[in-house]
């Protein structure tokens, strides 16, 4: 497991232990990767981060068109593995969690412990603002720099 901010690690480890999820990626809506577990190559993280943030943006726009509040989560169910995407607010801004899980667990378990992880992240987050703000126009640059830090290349 790798994380750019150390206070993220404990809630993330608890979530993985409780939910039996296979992969997790935490990122900001601007594409900065905060933490990941289970991905072996930076290319996979880059693709997942780009697709995940795009899907969340699409669902939030869909909700706006429908005149409803934001969707809580998007779940893609599969026979061998499933994927859940959920955006949530933190003192550090709006983040997205992408979770991949298999038939050894269930969407109910993943959602239950994901919500607990979000509560833990919100209470553990430092109250001071991050050193630098990430803007949407810097998406690609921020994605590359966070991947470099996470994978060390």
């Amino acid at each position: 497991m790798r994380a750019l901010e150390p206070w993220v690690l404990e809630p993330l480890q608890t979530f993985l232990a409780e939910s039996s999820a296979r992969l997790i990626l935490l990122m900001t809506t601007s594409g900065q990767v905060i933490a990941q577990h289970g991905f072996s190559r930076s290319f996979e993280v880059m693709t997942a981060a780009a697709l995940g943030s795009a899907i969340v943006a699409s669902t939030e726009e869909l909700a706006r068109i429908m005149g409803s509040p934001r969707f809580g989560a998007v779940v893609h169910g599969g026979s061998r593995q499933s994927c859940m995407l959920s955006a949530f607010g933190t003192p550090r801004g709006r983040w997205i969690g992408l979770v991949v899980f298999g038939p050894e667990t269930s969407v109910g378990i993943v959602q239950l412990f994901f919500d607990q992880m979000v509560e833990e992240l919100v209470s553990a987050a430092p109250r001071e603002p991050p050193a630098r703000l990430v803007l949407a126009e810097n998406f690609e640059h921020e994605l590359h720099s966070s991947l470099k830090e996470l994978f060390g290349r």
Binding site: T105, S106, V107, G108, I109, Q111, L112
Partner: protein, 118 residues
């Protein structure tokens, strides 16, 4: 009778048993609530996720041991019990009961109700 009406009737019957604090119909595979009839303050979502997981694992364990999947599960705690009756289509009828509950009657009603759902 629609599927949802049948589910509501099943929950109604189980909840009427003395000592039963609430009941839910859950999907064991997804761990999600299909229908519920619970007292305020009971987190149905958490019960569905955890009870669904328990039923799935017990099913795998018994099949692995070469015996049939359980038809009724009784998880006894200090303050009460969780009862679960697996049915067709991966549905599970779950009841939360207090220490004073009539467990025998609850068991009969649950098995009968879950049988009618299939």
């Amino acid at each position: 009778m629609t599927a949802m009406t049948a589910a509501t009737v099943a929950l109604e019957r189980v909840t009427q048993v003395p000592g039963v604090r609430g009941s839910l119909l859950i999907s064991a595979v997804d761990g999600l609530v299909v229908a519920e009839r619970l007292m305020d303050g009971i987190d149905g979502r958490a019960i569905a996720a955890l009870a669904g997981n328990l039923v799935q694992r017990l099913g795998r364990a018994t099949v692995g041991a070469g015996i049939q999947s359980p038809t009724f599960i009784h998880l006894r705690g200090n303050a009460g019990s969780v009862l679960a009756a697996p049915g067709a289509n991966d549905l599970v009828l779950v009841a939360l009961v207090g220490l004073d509950a009539n467990l025998g009657l609850a068991r009969i009603e649950m098995l009968d109700a879950v049988g009618r759902l299939s």
